[in-house]
């Protein structure tokens, strides 16, 4: 469980994180979504005791990070996959961490296998790792102490699509076992694959939060037909707000309403679904733009 209460960080006149509050409950993979510079990393550094908050506080399992006994056994943290000494081998990075966390060498080999780093790769120096391999190494380090909470900053960055799906499976199993996961991303499609719930942040403020399905439904209905122009006209005539996108229409109504109109007028539908990445992406951009206007006015 991660609890963030009125967390605020100001650097001089600039407010990086502005009074955010939320609680991540166990059993779920929660995506912390926001554009670059939205305050995600600063918030995560405050949760892990690396950055002192200006005000407010963050607790993990009910304690502040600095109060935790052997934090490596309770919280797996990866804040930057590239922040590794280039002169160490991947295996050595984990062995040093294992000494500190107090787990054996066998556990190091276990997590290496878990993240899919081969023996040969583990013996290579981090200098020669791709970003994707560094991400896997960072996740291995986070899992080393068999924690119950994971805090991962941009873990899918640099992974190929296959790697992102692999991560989804890994984090899903972790959450199903009663674990709590908070991971950040600035890419909507990435977070859509990996996370079940979303906390959206823009300009240091939370702009939306809830389950992915809830937020997707708010993004309207995506529809594609053999004759989009005619369908748009029909929907417009029925008083349903419609907007055209590159590949179809986004309708601000339930899928059922659209389907009924199409059936009545015999329009052949090719696709009909709630939400969709375009809808959510629009909302995401819209929400962050709205907060930026607020920020400018203040």
């Amino acid at each position: 469980m991660i609890t963030v209460e009125n967390l605020t960080k100001r650097y001089g006149g600039f407010t990086a994180v502005d009074d955010i509050s939320f609680q991540v409950r166990p059993g779920s993979v929660v995506g912390f979504l926001g554009p670059n510079g939205a305050g995600k990393s600063t918030a995560m550094r405050m949760m892990t005791g690396l950055t002192p908050p200006t005000s407010g506080r963050a607790t993990i399992l009910g304690q502040t990070y600095r109060e935790l006994h052997n934090p490596g056994r309770q919280v797996g943290v990866m804040l930057d996959a590239s922040a590794q000494h280039p002169g160490r081998t991947g295996r050595e990075v984990l062995r040093v961490a294992a000494v500190s966390v107090g787990v054996g060498k066998a556990r190091v080999e276990e997590v290496l296998a878990l993240v899919g780093l081969t023996d040969e790769e583990a013996g290579r120096r981090v200098r020669n790792y791709s970003l994707g391999m560094r991400q896997r190494l960072g996740i291995a380090a986070a899992l080393l102490g068999e924690p119950r909470v994971l805090i991962l900053d941009e873990p899918a960055n640099g992974l190929d699509p296959q790697g992102i799906h692999w991560m989804r499976g890994l984090l899903r199993r972790f959450a199903d076992g009663g674990g709590t996961v908070l991971l950040s991303s600035h890419l909507l499609h990435e977070v859509q694959i990996v996370a079940d719930d979303l906390v959206m942040i823009g300009r240091g403020r939370i702009v939306a939060m809830g389950t992915k399905d809830e937020l997707l439904a708010r993004g309207g209905t995506t529809v594609q037909s053999t004759d989009d122009a005619r369908l748009a006209g029909l929907l417009d005539a029925a008083g349903v707000p419609v907007s055209r996108t590159g590949s179809g229409l986004v309708v601000d109504a339930e899928a059922r309403v659209v389907g009924e109109i199409a059936a009545r007028e015999s329009v052949v539908l090719l696709e009909l679904r709630s939400g969709g990445s375009e809808g959510l992406e629009e909302m995401f951009l819209g929400l962050t733009a709205a907060t930026s206007r607020e920020g400018d006015a203040a």
């Binding site: 963030v4 609680q23 005791g49 399992l61 052997n70 490596g72 709590t180």
Partner: protein, 268 residues
């Protein structure tokens, strides 16, 4: 500690009616110091740079010893003379190992991992300082062994090392390696710290020679000067007071300021 009442923060994920809220592990904050110390000791020699520093130190010491045994004046090749030769490169290079230990967390950004595993940064700093001192002792022991071998092979066979010299050399090396850690913590930047450790004392000693009013201060505050009797095993009277003064200024002061910086600085 938090209260057990419900947090006002809106919840996301999971289920509201989970049977029990997860609780933290019992125990004191952080990790036991012995583990932090072992991890820091390992980190000093497990990188390519760290390992090469040790190899270079050993190689230079062996080369100097070999050269002296072959070409040097035979009557001076006693155990004591050979050991003093072998420790010259150590006094130069050990501070750099201390510097690298202190700066890597910031220059390589490994602090993002180190300070997450042990949030009490003061203990990490203490572990680094102790690990650097232990490494200095190990390296000196190797130098003693090398000097003994050189003496047997090509020295004059005199075993003239006194406790005063042995202890003096050890203490001097410990001071130098700790100075490295202190400057590393102070600047948190490897090149700047290395240049400062090499250049600042030289600049200071030139200044004390050039400006007559600084001459007396130089006698008290020149680390190279005050450790000379230490290496020779001839500490007497005021020498200890001078050593303590120079150490306070060149080691303890940067150590204190540097530790404060590490404790307060945001880890990014």
């Amino acid at each position: 500690m938090t209260t057990t009442s419900h947090s006002p923060a809106p919840a996301v994920g999971g289920s509201a009616d989970a049977p029990t809220a997860p609780t933290p592990l019992d125990g004191r904050p952080g990790v036991p110091f012995a583990r932090t110390f072992r991890a820091e000791l390992r980190k000093m020699v497990d990188t390519r740079a760290g390992r090469w520093m040790v190899i270079v130190m050993a190689a230079v010491a062996v080369l100097i010893l070999a050269g002296f045994v072959i070409w040097g004046p035979a009557e001076d090749a006693s155990f004591r003379g050979l050991l003093q030769l072998a420790t010259l490169p150590l006094a130069m290079l050990l501070p750099i190992i201390g510097i690298m230990a202190a700066t890597a967390e910031w220059s390589q950004r490994t602090g993002l991992v180190t300070f997450v595993l042990e949030p009490r940064r003061g203990r990490v700093v203490l572990a680094k300082a102790l690990a650097a001192l232990v490494l200095a002792v190990v390296v000196l022991a190797a130098a003693v062994a090398a000097a003994a071998v050189a003496n047997l092979v090509g020295g004059n066979g005199e075993w003239d090392l006194t406790a005063a010299i042995g202890g003096g050399v050890l203490l001097a090396l410990l001071v130098y390696v700790l100075q490295g850690v202190a400057f590393g913590l102070l600047f948190l930047n490897t090149p700047v710290a290395i240049v400062s450790v090499l250049v600042l004392p030289t600049v200071w000693s030139i200044a004390t020679m050039a400006v007559s009013s600084l001459e007396e201060a130089g006698r008290w505050l020149n680390l190279d000067l005050v450790t000379q009797p230490l290496f020779e095993g001839e500490m007497a009277g005021q020498d200890w007071a001078r050593l303590a003064t120079a150490c306070a200024v060149w080691v303890l002061l940067p150590l204190a300021v540097g530790t404060y910086r590490v404790l307060r600085r945001e880890v990014k």
